[in-house]
Each structure stands twice: as C-alpha cells, then as structure tokens.
C-alpha cells in the first residue's frame, strides 16, 4: 500500500506546485468586495453599460459603414498597437480618433470626453472574455522597455514608483483599501470614486497625484508606453471591459 500512497502524494505536490505557477496574477476584480463584484457581473446592473449604449449608437452612426462590432473582437485585446504610418504605438482611443479623422472625415474626439469613452467602452466590450494579446511587432520593443522603466521609476514628493506598490506590496492595504496588482484588464472602467466612466490614463493620473507627482498629460507618450508595458505584464489575462472598480 506504500507505493500508491507515495504516488498520490507526489501527484498532489506536483498539482499544487503547478496550480501555484499557473496564475499568481490577480485582476482588480478579485480584490473587490462581493457587492462591488456584483455590480460588474451583470450587464443590467453595471453602470458602464449606459456608456456602452451611447457608444453603440455612435458606432452605428460613424463606424458601422466599415466595421461590424463582431469584427473588432481583437481590437481592445491587442492595443496599444504599432502604427506604421505614425511610426509609433497607438492606444485604442488613439486608433478610434485616427479612424474618425481619416475615414469618417469627422473631428477627433477630445481625450476623456463622453463620446470617446463611450466608443472605447463599446469597442472594448467586444473583446470581453478574450485574453489580453499584445501586438508582437518588434518595433514596439523599445517602447515597452521605456514603459517598464517608467513603471519602475520613483516619482513625486512621496518618491514612490508604481512597482513599489503594485509589484512589491500588492495584496497589502493602503488607507484601508487593498493594493491591486494593477493589471489593466477592464478599461474603460466605471470607478465608484468618479461616479462615472474613465480611461486608464485618468486612473494613472490619480495614481500620480497620489504620490504627489505632476501627472502626465492625457495622450502623452509616457502613458502610451506605460500602458504598453502594463499590457505585456497582463498578457493572457481575460479582458473584463467595461469593468467596475472602487
């Protein structure tokens, strides 16, 4: 009877080890209270769906002449992506505006405007459930590397880097709130603190204000590069957009 027991024990240890290796990354969803999770789980309860409704109307008016919603299923999961014409990476919002200017012949929407957020929410919803799959274009590599440097650089009066909270101290508490690992799985998000929908860049600006640093401007290259790095770091995790966060 000893041999089968040893085999079982070995199998258990191997299974436990591979389970631990399989997914140590946690989405911000996992760190929320059950009540807040419930807000995100059902579309009939998620306030972000009000913006998705707006986004769908705008999409049908402007974008549907070229794209079906289903055909954009990979877009949010893949962006920021390499744009050969501009020779730089483009965020999803940047891509939406580029399409509007070039193909719809409509003016670009202002950063963080209701219209741009609504469109971004509608497009990102098409990727919900898919794994984050960053654009593998080799040209992006130096931008990802710079994004990683920015993530690990100490900033602000409090002299903290993103990594110090979100790599080294994720799971611990800051002013009563659990520090998430900071994976951008659900943007644009309905943040309870904003009582509205906002982009990753708005959230990053909050982070920078939090360490008393001057936030980068909306649309800045720094934010694009940080997002590139964050998406690499979160590669394979499921898109939850549009998510709810505290």
């Amino acid at each position: 009877m000893k041999l089968p027991l040893a085999t079982l024990l070995l199998a258990f240890i191997v299974a436990a080890a591979s389970a631990a290796q399989a997914e140590p990354r946690r989405s911000g969803f996992d760190d929320m209270s059950p009540s807040t999770q419930a807000l995100q789980r059902e579309d009939t309860q998620n306030p972000a769906m009000l913006w998705v409704l707006d986004g769908e109307q705008r999409f049908n008016a402007d974008c549907a002449r070229c794209h079906s919603a289903q055909s954009l299923g990979a877009a949010a999961a893949r962006h920021p992506a390499w744009d050969a014409a501009a020779a730089k990476p483009l965020t999803l919002a940047g891509r939406i505006n580029q399409c509007r200017v070039r193909h719809v012949k409509a003016p670009a929407l202002a950063p963080e405007s209701e219209g741009l957020l609504a469109l971004e929410a509608f497009v990102a919803l098409q990727s919900r459930g898919r794994p984050i799959a960053p654009d593998p274009a080799p040209a992006l590599r130096p931008f990802v590397a710079q994004g990683e440097r920015l993530f690990k650089q100490r900033i602000g009066q409090l002299d903290f880097s993103c990594a110090q909270c979100h790599d080294d101290n994720a799971g611990r508490r800051l002013a009563g709130a659990k520090i998430p690992q900071a994976h951008p799985t659900g943007y644009p998000i309905y943040r309870l603190e904003w009582q509205g929908l906002g982009s990753l860049q708005r959230r990053l600006r909050n982070c920078m204000s939090g360490v008393r640093a001057e936030p980068y401007a909306y649309g800045s290259d720094e934010f694009t590069m940080i997002e590139l790095y964050l998406k690499q770091r979160a590669a394979g995790m499921a898109v939850e957009s549009p998510a709810v966060r505290p």
Binding site: T44, Q45, P47, M49, L50, W51, L53, Y190, Q195, G196
Partner: protein, 110 residues
Amino acid sequence: MKMAALRTLLRVPASARPGEVMEVRLLMQHPMETGFRPDAGGRTVPRNILRRIEARFEGELVFAADLFPAITANPYIAFPLRATRSGTLTVTIEGDNGLAERETAVITVA
C-alpha cells in the same frame, strides 16, 4: 430649457408565468448632483437630481419612488411586479431642471 434625453436601461424578464413575481431593473445615466458639493472655486454646485420615478402597467400605477440626493449618481432601482397578463410597462422619470422622460417595456406573460 428641457435637458437632453436621459439615457436609461429598463430591463424586464423576457417572459413570465401568471402570478410570478418579476424583478424590474432600471438604470439611469444622471450625475445626481447633491447640492452640497463645492466646485473648484468654492461655490456650491446647484442641486440637479432625478426626483420621482413612476411605473404604470397598462395605465395602473404599480410602483413609485421618491429620490433624494443621497441616491448615487447613475441611479439603479430594482422593484418587484407580479405578472398578471401581457402588456406595456411605462416608466416616467421626473427631475430637476424640467427633466421629464418616459421609457416603455413590453411584458409577455404566458
């Protein structure tokens, strides 16, 4: 001046059996400005909220809600309704600054 149309999501179950109690869900996009908040200049932002929700099934009032500033922005309300027969549920929403909106949903009872 009437405000722009209020974006709402009114959800009823796809169908219900007679006598079954349904849950009706209403989500409305509105800042619910409390009237207590100071703006960046220190002035109090004037109150701007949704005040009254009424739900009528085939003309009969079946639910009403009086809302106050303590209701969250982008309000969500879920209320019960016993299914009797198929018909139209009409929800009227009244708020500050002359806001008056109406949403309908068809309830199928079989």
